[in-house]
Symmetry: C2
Subunit: 416 residues, 2 copies
């Protein structure tokens, strides 16, 4: 590890220790001050952002990637609002998660505490700089940010403004740190900082996440594919089924909780399939299906085995007819990615079985898969959606960036 | 991976899926049946155990290690009781961890679910076979056991009895599996089963844990050193301070929550040190100390820098005089291992600060460090004490072997 990174690591650990003792009010005030500081750096930020965009163009970056770099008025307002929203959330630190007085009068409490030092490695969008810092500071952690090289100038201006505001409000100077040199080497160095960093959260494509979790000995909160299913059960009402399927797929196609597959109970096919095909084709969605589907509709082209495990993130959807709830459950658990899967039915027993059997971080009952996530679950703000099962599963918000400690209060209690 | 292990992995995943849908009552009944099955295999178990011990002696294993292999009457009764105790614990699966109805009437619940497949890698003591299986089954997981080679015969007899009893009570046959071949290669193979195993829990010495967590890409719940401290604050009452220090150290010296260091506030030294030295020397504890301590007592030999980070697990203890609470906190956070650290004081403000500032999985206030653990916290049974901060910190019981899923109940809810 370079001396510079070792220094950052030591500073982060010290900052985390000090953060853990600050009242929640002070962390919230600092977040509000960070939001209030943004207008003052607006022109500086615009210059840095323009320089980043120019450099990206010169490097021949594709237009959609360049678009992601831009701090538009909308994104600027969003960043500021998000800092204020996170400030207003309940304090995730100091929650009594469990507690009881034991028969021998020993009082035992399990209290939420910050994790410590969190490393965030992200790709192009510069708003992750403020989003991630907000959630980490809210939960009393120190954070080391490592954004994409192509938005480095923008990220540094944002981070410096946040650091100044936070420090003025009594937060340790190293509560927020940012890597200021581009290049893959600094990422590799970061992955080796297991003495200092408690958890890494990569935000970006599958490739980035895989690379990081394979190379690092620091625990990683991973955010993999969303191969999301909606199962239309035998009794699924036509209107609700079609609306939910179309909304789940089309409200936004390129995100991880967008629908990718529809399973239909064979008995419901005559009622549902025509309306479903009509709904999707009206939205320009390409439909691929199992042989039984294709036989019934000329608008469905044959699906290959790869289609069942594909995360299209595009206006394509695969449909399969199943002969019962058990087959639907088995298909989802085998081909899905454990992200978000739903059922449309009014039968309570069917719901109970589906909810219990589907091994996914979110199970939606008569609700759009697009509603799975921190915002719609009332978490306020998240730094990602975990597809892991340990520590955090599903949306990762301020509560998920805490650990806990046990505290036992005795009056001279000995072990016999 | 060998075909045999791949087969085990696939079977474990299938068993875990099925376990997740079984009612808690059925898991509890299976555990009671497992307990009830033990007397029937007693003579078979004694033969296997005698063969293990004989082979260990022939290999020249040291006596204390051979003693650990033996299934004494006491250990036999303990194993049976423990299975029944775990059966009687509340079901860790299906707890509603959070829940609310959102303003748009979407009901959101966070429900505890089994993690999936748990790998337990342990050293000599054969009672881990029943203990670990009990906690894993209680929490609805499938378990793959890999015990020490020297107790393989004993472990297999125990596992087979449990498997028979569990299967008779409707649990899937592969809910409990055991590796039946000795040798390091099978452990190495196990570490590569990241497609099938969700978490590994090594039970044994530091070397084992380090080897496993460095070699495996499967998440590991680690159980490292207990370099436990007790800080005797300025106002610490003499009697309570001495009793707690002696009990924390001497009740059992070779365990991870045994006391290793005492810090004394300088102002309290005249009151406390003589009684403390007397208490420890009466118990045959060798005392090492900072220069100020050594000056004050001829019974204390000088400590080296290594003494402050040593986990003796022996009748040795290091004492240091500090000039205030801040120095004590700083010392513990720097030299400790984040396992269990305590304070003796009657000053509420001091307690508040110590509890908030000490970065350890257990903080004891006027209570013996030996009381940190699943039993005294009311958790019923544990598979270890985690020194990690993610997922589980401190004692790892049935609740800690669960993950969760989010379930959203709508009535056709779309995303706008």
């Amino acid at each position: 590890m370079t001396p510079a990174l070792t220094k950052m690591g030591i500073a982060a650990v010290e900052a985390a220790r000090s953060m853990a003792t600050l009242p929640g009010q002070q962390r919230a005030d600092a977040l509000r001050a960070m939001a209030a500081a943004l207008p003052g750096i607006r022109s500086e930020l615009q210059q840095a952002n323009a320089a980043d965009i120019e450099a990206a163009r010169a490097k021949g970056l594709a237009d959609p990637l360049i678009a992601r770099l831009a701090i538009t008025d909308k994104i600027f307002a969003y960043m500021q609002n998000r800092l204020n929203q996170v400030a207003a959330l309940p304090d995730p630190v100091g929650r009594v998660l469990e507690g009881h007085i034991r028969p021998n009068n020993l009082k035992v409490e399990k209290i939420s505490v910050p994790i410590g030092v969190i490393g965030i490695i992200y790709e192009s969008r510069p708003n992750v700089t403020t989003d991630a810092a907000a959630v980490c500071i809210k939960s009393g952690n120190a954070v080391i940010l490592r954004g994409g090289s192509e938005s480095l100038r923008t990220n540094i201006v944002l981070a410096d403004a946040m650091i100044r505001a936070a420090t003025e409000h009594g937060l340790p100077e190293s509560a927020i740190q940012i890597l200021r040199t581009p290049g893959h080497e600094t990422v590799s160095e970061l992955l080796r900082m297991d003495r200092y960093i408690d958890v890494l959260i990569p935000r970006g494509g599958k490739g980035l996440i895989r690379r990081i979790s394979e190379a690092s000995r620091i625990p990683v909160i991973k955010h993999y594919d969303g191969i999301c299913h909606l199962y239309l059960a035998e009794d699924a009402p036509v209107k609700m089924a079609v609306e939910l399927a179309v909304n789940s797929k089309c409200q936004r196609v390129e995100v991880c909780n967008a629908l990718e597959k529809v399973l239909i109970h064979a008995q419901a096919v005559p009622r549902l399939l025509p309306a479903l095909v009509e709904g999707f084709t009206a939205q320009g969605v390409e439909l691929r299906g199992c042989p039984r589907c294709c036989e019934l509709s000329a608008s469905i082209i044959p699906a290959t085995e790869e289609d069942w495990t594909a995360e299209y993130l595009a206006p394509i959807l695969a449909i399969k007819i199943v002969d019962g709830d058990a087959e639907a459950i088995e298909h989802i658990n085998r081909y899905g990615s454990g992200h978000t899967d739903g059922i449309v039915t009014n039968a309570l027993e069917r719901v109970e079985r589906f909810v219990r059997s589907i091994d996914s971080s979110s199970v939606m009952v008569n609700a759009s898969t697009r509603l799975s996530g921190g915002g719609d679950y009332g978490m306020g703000a998240v730094v990602g959606i975990s597809t892991d099962k340990l520590h955090a599963r599903g949306p990762v918000g301020p509560n998920e960036l805490t650990s806990y400690k046990w505290v036992a209060y005795g009056q001279g209690h000995l072990r016999g």
